[in-house]
Every structure is written in C-alpha cells, then in structure tokens.
Symmetry: C2
DNA sequence: CAAACATATATCGTAACGATATATATCGTT
DNA sequence: AACGATATATATCGTTACGATATATGTTTG
C-alpha cells in the first residue's frame, strides 16, 4: 500500500490534519510503517485535487491555522477497493544483512562490535514496543492488536536470530 | 547502506558491468536487498564522475557493447569507511501489518482469504530460498553464509508468526 | 526461420525521504 | 518579565530509488 491508501485508511475513522496524521503513525504504527511530512502533504494535496478528500481551512485565533482533511464517498470507495486487492510478500531490506554480506572486509574486532551494537539497537526498539502496550491496548481494535502481538513476536524472533549470528561471529 | 556503497562492495572483489551487478543481486542477495537498473546505471554514472570507479567501454563484435566498471583506490577507501560506520535498526515496512491494521473494513471471509494468500506467498519465497542452498554454498564466503542462515531462520520465524495471526483470524 | 530468451545500457515519470523553512503558541525557568 | 525549549501546523526542495519502458544485438529452441 502506498502513502495515499494509508492516509485514506486513517481518515476512514475521523477527519484529521496532516500533523495529526503524522502523529497517528508514531503511536501504534511506527514499527512497521511510517510517513514523513515530505510524503504526507504532497499526497494530501493530490488526493484533494482528485476528490478523494476535502480540506477545510480553519482560521484560528489560538494556534496556527489548520487544514482539516475529510474523506469523501469516492475516497472511501477507492480505499476499500485497494484494501480488497490481494497482496504478496515484498522483499524486505535489511541493513544488518547488507552489512554482514561484506563483513570479510572488516577486522574481526570491528565485526563483533558492529554486530553487537546493532543487536543492542534492536533490543532497544523491542523494549520500546513492549512498553507501548497499555497505550496501544487502549486505542487499538481487534486487528490492530493482532498487529501489535505480531510485532512483539517479530522482535523476539529477530533478537534471537541476531544473537545467534553474533555468537557465530564471536567464536572465530 | 545506499545503492552506491552496495555497488562498490561488489566491485571490491572484481570488475563488473551494470548488467552483471544487477545479476549479482538476484542470486544470493535478493531476499534482503536489491537494486533495479533505474538505480544502478545512474549510481554508476555518478560514481565515475566522482572518481570512485572507472568505466572502460568495450566494443565487441559478438554481442552488445559493454562498460566494465572497476573500483579505484579512492572508491575502496570510501567503501571501507562506510562499512566501518556504526549502524542501527531501521524500521522495516510490512505490507502484511499495514493491511492487517485496516482489516476491520473487510468482511471476515475477505480477511481470512487475504491473510492466507499472503501466508502462501511467504512460504513460496521461503522454499525458493531453501532450494538456493547449493548455489549459495558454492559461492558465498563465511559471512555470506551467515546471511543465508539468518535468512532461513528469518523465514521460518516469519511463517510461524503469520500462521499464528491467520489462526487468530480463523476463529471469529 | 521465427519466436523467445539472454545480454547490455539508459532514461522517464513517479513516489518517498530527510532536511529545512516558516509561523504561532505554550510552558517552564531564571 | 524575558528567554529558550517544546508543541502545533503547513509546505517545499533536493535527492534517492523504483518500475516501466525503449533500444539493440546475439543465441537458443521449437
């Protein structure tokens, strides 16, 4: 799914500004998807032109002016069609494997420290996700909870997998 | 690592054409990284201008003309510097979780069939990777073998994780 | 002998990222 | 009261990368 479909997905529930859409990602969504403002605002602008959303400018006395985005009937239709399309595995890019692939060019000590530092960074993200549990459980629907649990297991597996690789690097 | 560093990494071992570089990906590298011609040729052109590689045009009587890329001393230096930089986890995008996140908008039967089809596509990639074993073991160095084994475990874990999610979708 | 496949390079439009610019409002602190 | 830091809010710019497409030659196969 491209940026536009994801934005439409969020707007299916309620109207939001570009800023709110960005925040929506950082809460429950960030560990498996994410969009920057450089993607959000151009996508919103295009979708308004195409009639998938409406944007109402709101002049406020308190705080900077906002543009509230509301999905149209056409937008809902397009989103649901996209969601119904079948989807298959997409090759995931791994910075760790890309680096490991060329590790022959590093000294043994550089390999070990580099891999270990990466392992720690993964553990850090894992812990952050674990701590987000109350926040996510308060807001998520049934399927978003499945996403969260998938994420927990994913990081558990990933940690174990990297640990095994680090171990293999250490006995050389 | 960006496209350029990966291309330099391959050129560390031997000189290659853009076409050969593309093929190098599809063998052992494709399941965790990959570049299209739309990335390769512009990146090679730029690196030649910057003096990281040399490109020798080869006029052949048999077959289309080629441009053989050779890494320079400066290119080797830049690659090794990049490889030595520390790296951390980068949020991985998952088409499965992005879809699952919005599954409330699908009918139960659509959810089940969609998730199951995705599961099958992952199994398919897993099997392809398993079958590539002899080919990879023949060419890979110690670290590239670690990449391969990481990949096998990764798909094993991923399959199990998706299967659990599919199971949760089925009992509703 | 034609079709299909493999070799080989290159560009175009589009999507997306990350950085940056701009502006207002609030909150804490000295 | 003044200051800096943080939060709210929109937008664009340069760059990277992808996927599709164009172009051309050579080889294999039905």
């Amino acid at each position: 799914m491209d940026a536009r479909s994801i934005l439409l997905g969020f707007l299916m529930n309620r109207s939001m500004t570009g800023y709110e859409l960005k925040k929506a990602f950082s809460i429950s969504f960030s560990f498996f998807s994410g969009l920057s403002y450089g993607s959000i605002y151009p996508a919103l602008g295009k979708m308004e032109k195409e009639g998938l959303i409406r944007m109402q400018a709101e002049m406020r006395k308190s705080g900077p002016n906002r543009k509230i985005c509301t999905i149209t009937a056409e937008g809902r239709k397009v989103f649901l069609e996209t969601l119904k399309e079948p989807f298959a595995f997409e090759g995931t890019k791994s910075i760790f494997l890309t680096r490991l692939f060329f590790f022959a060019h590093l000294a043994p000590e550089e390999r070990r420290s580099s891999a270990h530092r990466y392992f720690e960074s993964v553990r850090q993200v894992e812990k952050t996700l674990q701590r987000a549990r109350p926040e996510i459980e308060a807001k998520a629907d049934r399927f978003q909870l499945l996403c969260y649990r998938f994420g927990l297991r994913f990081f558990e597996d990933l940690s174990r997998n990297i640990a095994q690789t680090v171990k293999a690097l250490e006995k050389e």
